[in-house]
């Protein structure tokens, strides 16, 4: 028998895994190109709406929609990267912030135009609902699924980065872009592929998030703050950092809302400011 605090921690970790899938792409692209992409959560929102439309209008199974959410976000992000982002790689932080937040604003209005401003509920399969009892704790099945997805994504990403030729190119470009170019690595292409993968993961995260946090057009801004916190706390370009930061922020958020609800989101902002004061480059950041 475990005390209930473990149940809260488990919910926090499940929430953290969701945030990890949402944010890991942004961490890698920021580390790779120093490109601040505040439209990251707009791609996540796109994935979520793809899932909603496929389930409601085409009666698809929830799991069948997930690859579609990934693919749609990845495709659209490449199109945007080719047409707009490409020109701003050497521009200032401020220009990048403004362009991408502009895109995020537009995505909110477009989503409101097509789907209205109400919440979009979906029905996950009935066997994903409910909870099972483990050592006296009631663990939600969907949350266990989230943890499994989070761990699977982490393992896949780490394996791909550490053991493939492409992963080696990405790591080289993150560590020293000029040197990587000098060695003949096509950093622009590497970046485009990484960007698509990261946005695809965001789309997947958005689809997974509907069941936990709901979906409305404000998603692109509300979760942007969480993603930015995780990226800056974890350190740019670090998968392990994002993982640790997502767990830390997920647990602080859930525990804070459970034990001291009157503080609201105070705790995660406090954690972020404290971590950044202690380590300005984030927990695992090098620069």
């Amino acid at each position: 028998m475990l005390p209930p605090v473990f149940g809260v921690l488990f919910d926090g970790i499940a929430y953290g895994m969701l945030l990890f899938v949402l944010s890991v792409g942004m961490s890698v692209t920021l580390g790779l190109m120093n490109f601040v992409n505040l439209a990251h959560c707009a791609f996540a929102m796109l994935g979520a709406y793809v899932t909603v439309v496929l389930m409601k209008d085409f009666d698809w199974n929830f799991f069948a929609t997930l690859p579609m959410a990934f693919a749609a976000a990845a495709l659209v992000s490449v199109a945007v990267e080719r047409t707009l982002y490409r020109r701003l790689y050497r521009a200032s932080d401020l220009d990048q912030v403004l362009l991408t937040i502009g895109l995020a604003f537009m995505s909110i209005a477009i989503a409101a135009w097509f789907f209205g401003t109400t919440q979009q509920p979906i029905a996950v399969p009935s066997y994903m609902r409910g909870s099972i009892s483990v050592l006296g704790l009631n663990l939600g099945i969907y949350r266990m699924f989230l943890v499994a997805v989070g761990i699977a994504v982490t393992v896949l990403l780490v394996l791909a980065l550490e053991h493939t030729r492409f992963g080696a190119q990405v790591r080289a470009a993150v560590d020293n872009q000029r040197m990587a170019r000098g060695l003949g690595i096509d950093v622009d292409r590497t970046f485009a592929v990484t960007f698509a993968l990261g946005s695809g993961l965001a789309g997947l995260g958005g689809a997974l998030a509907i069941e936990i946090v709901g979906l409305d057009p404000q998603f692109a801004l509300v979760y942007l703050v969480y993603v930015l916190i995780i990226v800056s706390v974890g350190g740019l370009g670090s998968i392990a950092g994002s993982f640790a930061a997502a767990c830390l922020i997920g647990m602080s958020d859930i525990a804070g809302k459970y034990y001291v609800p009157q503080l609201g989101s105070f705790l995660i902002y406090l954690v972020m400011v404290a971590v950044l004061m202690w380590r300005p480059a984030g927990l695992f950041g090098k620069r």
Binding site: L30, D93, L99, F105, W113, I229, S232, G264, F266
Partner: protein, 331 residues
């Protein structure tokens, strides 16, 4: 650099003197701010909102446009000023000018304290720290329901007539005159500050943070000073809003307000004294018009505007205008 005759040496003093001379267009601009009294008497409360927002954008211009500090939490000082002015009028007295002084002082003290944190960081970490501090303050104000009214807003503000004569009326005549007067006085101060050696040092920090200490100007000390000054001005703007609307909502501390003011400044042209004022004017009038048609799609237009400004007008409206003017003169 445009003249081809004998090389002239430009001393820093000469440059600053030339910059600080009043141009006819500036005089025309300030005279034009009086026009709404006669031309748009029904839009005076919007005009006072614009003056207040312009003042807020001016304060951000000092740190973002001149010193190059990107802040996504500048609404913190605006909100501190608004709540201070509101609470002061509720519990002490409603004399407007003393209320503004208190609002400025409190915002300045908080700004000075946080400037020690701000000056240590750059780039993304700095953006996130300012964002985090701003959000922390908003959560704190939300929790302190007994003092701020929380999400219900601060009620029961009673402001005495300005100078004991001009009552705050329904049409916003006094509100606009009062806000415009304060804006002008603060603008004169900001203008003097920017056209001083201190202002030059700020631009130096923006261009190269590391090299400035090497020529004897301590970047950290300068950033602490200008951040405090910007906080004071933002506090005055917030105090003005609280006094002219006689209410304070939690929204004054929101992330949206911080983001909006960055958008306005960039739209008008960052690093130019009039950038914030022009940006606030264009933004507020556009919002007033567009949201009358379809409020939920306002975000689309502001987003499109941002993309266009970044892609086509890198120095904002004023930057685009001055580039046009230069090309026209060369002809």
């Amino acid at each position: 650099m445009t003249t081809l005759d004998a090389p002239r040496t430009v001393t820093p003093q000469g440059y600053l003197l030339r910059q600080s001379r009043w141009r006819p267009i500036e005089v025309a601009f300030w005279l034009a701010t009086l026009l709404p009294f006669w031309l748009f008497p029904t839009y005076l409360s919007l005009a006072s909102q614009i003056a207040i927002t312009g003042l807020f954008a001016l304060s951000l211009d000092l740190i973002l446009g001149y010193a190059g500090i990107v802040s996504l939490g500048h609404a913190a000082f605006f909100g501190i000023g608004a709540y201070t002015a509101g609470i002061f009028s509720k519990f002490v007295w409603g004399e407007p000018f003393s209320g503004l002084v208190v609002a400025a002082a409190v915002a300045g003290v908080v700004g000075y304290a946080s400037s020690f944190i701000i000056s240590r960081f750059r780039h993304l970490t700095l953006i996130m720290i300012t964002l985090g501090l701003g959000l922390l303050l908003k959560e704190a104000a939300n929790s302190a329901h007994w003092l701020t009214g929380g999400s219900d807003g601060l009620q029961g503000i009673d402001i005495w007539p300005v100078l004991g004569v001009f009552n705050f009326d329904l049409y916003g005549r006094t509100a606009y005159g009062y806000a415009l007067g304060v804006l002008f006085v603060v603008f004169l101060f900001a203008r003097r500050l920017i056209n001083s050696p201190f202002g030059l040092a700020l631009r130096g920090i923006r261009e190269n943070f590391v090299r400035m200490p090497a020529i004897g100007a301590d970047s950290h000390a300068h950033i602490r000073k200008v951040y405090t000054i910007a906080a004071i001005i933002a506090g005055i703007a917030g105090g003005l809003l609280a006094q002219t609307t006689q209410t304070v909502a939690l929204e004054v501390l929101s992330f949206e307000r911080s983001a909006d003011v960055v958008v306005m400044l960039v739209l008008g042209g960052a690093g130019r004294l009039y950038g914030g004022l022009i940006g606030a004017m264009v933004y507020m009038i556009a919002r007033d018009q567009f949201s009358g048609i379809a409020p939920q799609y306002w975000y689309f237009w502001i987003g499109a505007l941002l993309v266009i400004v970044v892609m086509l007008l890198p120095n904002g409206i004023l930057g685009g205008l001055s580039a046009l003017l230069k090309r026209w003169r060369r002809r």
